[in-house]
Symmetry: C2
Subunit: 477 residues, 2 copies
Amino acid sequence: MNPMNTQEKHLLFLRSALTEENPFIKTKEIIDWVNSRNFATNVSINRITFDRLKNWNTDNDFYSLNHDSGKFFSIIGINVDTNYGEIESWDQPIINQPEIGYLGFITKEFNGILYFLMQAKIEPGNVNNVQLSPTLQATKSNYSQVHHGKKPIYLEYFIERDRCEVLIDQLQSEQGSRFLKKRNRNIIIKTNEEVPLHDDFIWMTLGQIKRLISIDNLINMDTRTVISGIPFGSFDENTINFFNAIGNVSSTDFSKSMLASALSKYSYLNSFDDIIAWFTELKCKYEINIRQISLNKMRDWIISDDEIFHKDKKFFRIIATKIEISNREVSRWMQPLVEPAQEGLIVFIVKKIHGIYHFLVQAKVESGNFDTVEMAPTVQCLTGNYKTTPNNSLPYLDYVRNASKSQIKLDVIQSEEGGRFYKEQNRNLIIEADNNFDENLHQNYIWVSLNQLHTFLTFNNYLNIQARSLLSAISFM
Amino acid sequence: MNPMNTQEKHLLFLRSALTEENPFIKTKEIIDWVNSRNFATNVSINRITFDRLKNWNTDNDFYSLNHDSGKFFSIIGINVDTNYGEIESWDQPIINQPEIGYLGFITKEFNGILYFLMQAKIEPGNVNNVQLSPTLQATKSNYSQVHHGKKPIYLEYFIERDRCEVLIDQLQSEQGSRFLKKRNRNIIIKTNEEVPLHDDFIWMTLGQIKRLISIDNLINMDTRTVISGIPFGSFDENTINFFNAIGNVSSTDFSKSMLASALSKYSYLNSFDDIIAWFTELKCKYEINIRQISLNKMRDWIISDDEIFHKDKKFFRIIATKIEISNREVSRWMQPLVEPAQEGLIVFIVKKIHGIYHFLVQAKVESGNFDTVEMAPTVQCLTGNYKTTPNNSLPYLDYVRNASKSQIKLDVIQSEEGGRFYKEQNRNLIIEADNNFDENLHQNYIWVSLNQLHTFLTFNNYLNIQARSLLSAISFM
């Protein structure tokens, strides 16, 4: 197979992003299909005590919580010291899962349009039982078949590399406040072979995926992170006008401007060198030191028979669960899950400059970050108590609260990964700055164009998962 | 001061790289000046026993070797397990210096040409006592004046940011086989102020610096790493022909082609997405686990009264030294130094494709790497015994050994940092592939254009310090 050149690849992604018509399944039918599967699926999660958590152990008087096999993940305690933010030192539980996760899409061209092979996947912690996920979710052990376990479906397309062309292959981070230096490999491959369509799998265009991200809790986190990394290239104005002309006639002004912003090689505020210099300075300024401690020695956290919780019931708690999922067949297992104390909020404030949308990016330190600082949304209070936070204590939160309806360009509830988190949801907002927006930025904030954000995404590990979730939701139609 | 736009900045760097004429000091005079300073400087290094190393302690029966202040650096033992390379497990001493180092140049425009403020700096381990270094070499503590110690000269230009414009500010790695996850901040700032010229400081063009890198042991490692990160932009063919026309008349074909390769936005083999996918796959494939152990528990290493050495006298040894440096005044102190077992070799094999030089990049795992794999030169046997290594055991070493004289485009001996390493030198080679070069690449190797390498440099922490040293030596004149 002749590999495409970069521009062909960008155009292929772009055409798919601008296509909602799908002869295999209409967008409305996808929703019905997922709903019907939700209806046919029963997920029962019962809280149990830690001592009944089969195959899990709390070694050394609750030093940490581990699977007997040494695989999957563990819950460990950490002590955090940092010069970032108002709180200089705290303890917390965190998920330790050193294995890289593999999140992969098989794609295939039909009549010149690229289709993504989506899976309707059940995860115990999902708010809706079933969400649309990538073709493959696997651990490195699954992927490399080290342990000769059950082979994930479609794995062979990813492993036998001469069967497919690699379109993207990136390392990206997970939630820094919940995972210790965890990263996932985000892969999109393209095949020319006939692909047998297993139950629970359908072909969707990128335009359909982006359309459905505007519906609450339907497209899972893994899908959102992978598609956020899709590059569309950088073009001049004439080319962008051309793409706009061929775009869907139902386009809104906002989506047309976002298309231009994704594609435009021009940025009007900060160059890459400026942004990298800003980022370097903050990486040097902020320090965070992490040290593993015993779960039972964490300050302000209490371990009861069936949960590990903060003394003020803040942040999140670790619970032990017995899970039974039944649809065509029944599966049962037990595992710990992380349950948030409340819903979170992530917001990008955007501003159009010479027709190009720029995003107000925050440099944010989180305890589990691989390299101290990542680029985060303007506002990120993940399971923080943003509804009761006093005004101005968090930059731009007050501005977001007072935004008028016409400024709200996206407003959707999205789930975190249902294999680790129990019904964790975040409200995703994109807010357009109005004329009252204060041009003097808070410390740690910078304007970055959408095209520049895509470039940082390509170079791996710059944007955090919350920023990527918001970017994935931007539709060009 | 009005900041330059990106293109103005690139052109300013480029003009300086194409300028050797300097009204302040001619290139020849710089060499004489450094020679005279070398002559006037006496560095005496005497080996002592560890127990006489004043202000240093070997706590807990030689668990590690530390400065009493807890500052500077320490020598620790590590146990390394990896699935990369032929040796799966070993122990070694490594330098632990968690503080980010600051390497900074003040630059200033005189008659439209950018000049770099260079320092003639003495370091105890230097082969030549005096080498040309950046304006500022400081630790983060120096820089932020946390400890109110002696203020490094010219520091205020870097700290009072409204006095200067930041041209580059990057985080880059140090030697992964010697330093544990050490990174330096590489900064170039530009001032419009009058800058008082202290003793030991001179203004040089980038063209002069690059010219002098072709002389053995004259431009220090810190200078080489900072200037390797200078971006020159990406242009089309017409613009490049224009630059070639204004370039120095003494240009060789090689330097003209390298100029075109640095500037050309075209690459003919692999796109960024291809290279990043290649890199991601290797980052996922290779694992390295580091665990601190006691220096006195390291397998195959022996601690005597005055050195820590490998039982086969391979790699390097840690020695204790008493240092006296005298020129205008006398300074005396004691410190450990790392002495290599022999000279090392670093080589880029390059190949011209459609007039653009591509570099054969190796993905290399080293024990102290911040993120497992970095992009390294085609051949890197740092203090390895390359002269006695059997043919073919190291990819491309044999090809390099048999290269004809006309293939050798650069051949110069360079020093590692003289504050940590005792007379450590590497032979730096650039070899042009001939028609006999095998197009089937070894595993872990990929062709990357010079312009692409500059982009990876800009995005931080992709290229290792050996690769950057070689790139810094490429002259466009």
